[in-house]
Every structure is written in structure tokens, then in C-alpha cells.
Symmetry: C2
Subunit: 214 residues, 2 copies
DNA sequence: GTCTATATCTAGATAGAC
DNA sequence: GTCTATCTAGATATAGAC
């Protein structure tokens, strides 16, 4: 097995196993076995299992951050939400172990707790700014206190659609189908607050999208 | 410490520790220490730690089941959702360790996995029946496929409001405040689909409730 | 029923040869 | 850089006296 960088191999293998079995159920020995290296070698490249987790999370963050960089003064059409959600859901799917066990992970890895909280706050702001963008484009009408509740409902969906899909539709949905349903759910949260005619246009679009995918 | 039933003491102590620190972070020794009994004594009353978890879950189920027994032909007014949500949120709060680590718990306790999936399915049905109840009372107007999405959005909120609150508002919200916000979020999911005049009436009520509590 | 002492097992992590 | 062998810690669970 002439492999490139062993460090990279360890990270890839870990990510795959974490996603499949959940991080707490994957030992460093499992990782070494799966990567066809010795446990000692693994610890030559990483000081601890937590370091592997943190490095994976760091890489997730680097790719995720640009996706939630929504400026305050953006103008958004309802359709713009689509691509935005698709990109972020795709990425979260790739690192889904993070979203399966957040309570546990943060309890055991204090550095991760701060990072995750910060991420959530920025994502919350992104949801808020997206709604503002719809307002500024004249597509959305909503009162301020309802806007914050709605933003949080969206954030809750963005944060927990993965474990929710695994719990409610075990095996029956592959990743992309679970994503489609979750995206539809988020879009539906926004739909009834849209003005006409955007609301009906968007609803028609969403329905076509959902039935096409299922 | 002249205590009543030791078995009950173990269960109470476990529940408290599980809720505070998360079940995976609580060892049988911690439980024994906190209950002022020996580890050996704990294992006289329970064959394993999983048995403690399962017994606690069983008790949760017994109290929860009646709360989600919504008949198919019920007639519901929007205000009826309130008490229903309050009761179930209160109970979930009492057993919140279950909702903090569902992915982990189900992975490590297979019996729990089946039970939890079943519970989720029944709760999903309850959400659906509640929406149907609003329709049959003439308060709600929604198309069928949107109704299922909405029911799932509600279910997702019912399932993850606890970890979400812990993650986004660490320490800043005590239990009852987190509950109020979560309930408001669920009610807001339904509000825009209500007919007039119920929609405006309900919105006014909800606003008063939220501002009174914060 | 309850205790103390201990067995067992597993996971993370290290030492030292190659 | 990589290996084999091993240490250590901590958690579940048991044995046997009281």
C-alpha cells in the first residue's frame, strides 16, 4: 500500500469510521486497523484521539465558514436559499459525525465546545441575515420578534436534520434523499411568510422539486 | 440515612446525575458515591448500568404515552396546543438526559433504539392528528403534503429543543425559560397556517405569553 | 441488603527496536 | 516513519464476608 501522507490517511479513515459508527464507538485501534497501520504509528502522527477530532472539525470549519458569510445588506430572492442550503447540507453530510453527537463531543472535548458554540452563533446570524435579505428584496414580510423565532427554527433544523433523519428513517433514506426532505422542511418554514406573488411561485417550485426527487 | 427503597434511591440519583452530566459521563461508581451506597450494593439492585437506563426510560414512557394519545377525530382549538405542549415539555425536561444523547444511547443500548424509534413514530402521528384536529375544528387550512412537512418540523422541535437550548443558551436560560421559548417556536410553526380570525387572535395571545415570561 | 476488595476488560497512550 | 509490545487508567461487574 504505497500511500501518500499517512497523516491524511488517518484523517480520512477516521472521518469515514466516525460517520459510520459514531465517534465514541470508534477506537484508535479500529482506525489503525482500517488504515492498515499500527496503533503506534497513529500516535506518531497524532498526540491523541481528540486531536484527530479537532483537526477534522477545523477542516469542516474552514469549508463551512464561507457558506455562512451572509452580509447584512444582501438582497435575496427565495430561490437563492436553495443553493445556499444545498451547499451547506452537502458539507454537513460529509462531516455528519459532528452532528450526531454534539452533546457528547462538546462534553468530552472542551475546545470543541467553544468552537461549536461560536459556529452556531454565526450560523444563527446567517439565518437572520438571510431573512433580512428577503425582506430587503421585498419578498418577505415579518415582524421582528417573529423573525427571531423563525431564524431559530431554521437554525434548529440546520443543526439536527442529520440525527433526525437517522432516527426517523433508518436506512430507508440515503443521504441525498434525507437532504432533500430536510431542505424542503427548511424552505417550508419560510414559505408562509413570503409576500404574494413570490409565495405561490415558490410553493410551486418547491413542490416540483420534492416530487421530482422522491 | 434511613432511606426507603434503595432501588428507588439509585434510580433517582442516576436520573439526577444523568441529567446534569450526561449519561456517558456518569459511572456506576459516581452513582453509588452520590447515593451513599457501595458499588456492590448498586449491582445487587441492578444487573448493569444499562438496566438503570432502561428502567428510567420505561418510566418516562409510561408517563409520556398518555400525553401523545391524540385521537384521530379530535376537535382542537389553537389554544389547546398550549397545555399539551406544556405537559410534554415538562416531562421531557425531567428526563432530559434521554434527549441529550439519543444517537449515543441508541447505539449502545439496542433495546432503547427500538423503543425510541417507536416512540418517535407515535409522536409523529400525534402531531399529525393534532393538525387534523385543528382542521376539523375549522381553524387550520393546509394541503396534505405541506401538512406532513409541518408535522415533521414540529416533531423535530419536540425532539431537539433540549440540546438546542443547552447549546445556544448555555446557563443563560433556566429550564422553564428554555421551555417557554421552545413552546413559542412550535406554536409559531403552526400560526401562519391558521385561518382568520384565529390566526391574529392566537398571535396576540402568543406574544403576550412570551413577553410575560421573559 | 450491604459492604470491601478485587477481577476483568477495554481504550487511550507510550517505549524502544528497527 | 513504522512496528511490536506494553503500560496505565478507568469503568463495569463479581466474590465473598458480614
Amino acid at each position: 500500500m504505497a500511500r501518500r501522507n499517512t497523516r491524511e490517511l488517518i484523517l480520512e479513515t477516521s472521518l469515514g469510521l466516525f460517520n459510520e459508527f459514531g465517534e465514541p464507538n470508534v477506537t484508535t485501534n479500529h482506525i489503525a486497523d482500517e488504515a492498515d497501520i499500527s496503533p503506534g504509528n497513529l500516535y506518531y502522527h497524532f498526540r491523541s484521539k481528540n486531536d484527530i477530532v479537532l483537526e477534522l472539525f477545523k477542516r469542516f470549519l474552514v469549508r463551512f465558514q464561507p457558506l455562512i458569510d451572509i452580509p447584512e445588506d444582501v438582497l435575496l430572492q427565495p430561490e437563492d436559499l436553495w443553493i445556499q442550503l444545498h451547499l451547506s447540507f452537502e458539507l454537513k453530510s460529509e462531516y455528519r459525525f459532528i452532528y450526531r453527537n454534539m452533546a457528547d463531543l462538546t462534553a468530552r472535548v472542551p475546545d470543541l465546545e467553544r468552537a461549536l458554540r461560536g459556529l452556531l452563533q454565526r450560523e444563527r446570524k446567517a439565518a437572520w441575515n438571510s431573512l433580512t435579505g428577503l425582506e430587503q428584496a421585498g419578498a418577505l414580510q415579518i415582524e421582528k420578534h417573529e423573525k427571531q423565532l423563525l431564524a431559530d427554527s431554521i437554525l434548529l433544523n440546520l443543526t439536527y436534520w442529520i440525527p433526525f433523519a437517522e432516527l426517523t428513517e433508518p436506512g430507508r433514506l440515503d443521504d441525498s434523499q434525507a437532504q432533500v426532505v430536510a431542505i424542503a422542511r427548511v424552505l417550508q418554514l419560510v414559505t408562509p411568510w413570503l409576500r404574494q406573488p413570490q409565495q405561490d411561485q415558490f410553493r410551486t417550485l418547491a413542490l416540483a422539486y420534492l416530487s421530482h426527487s422522491s
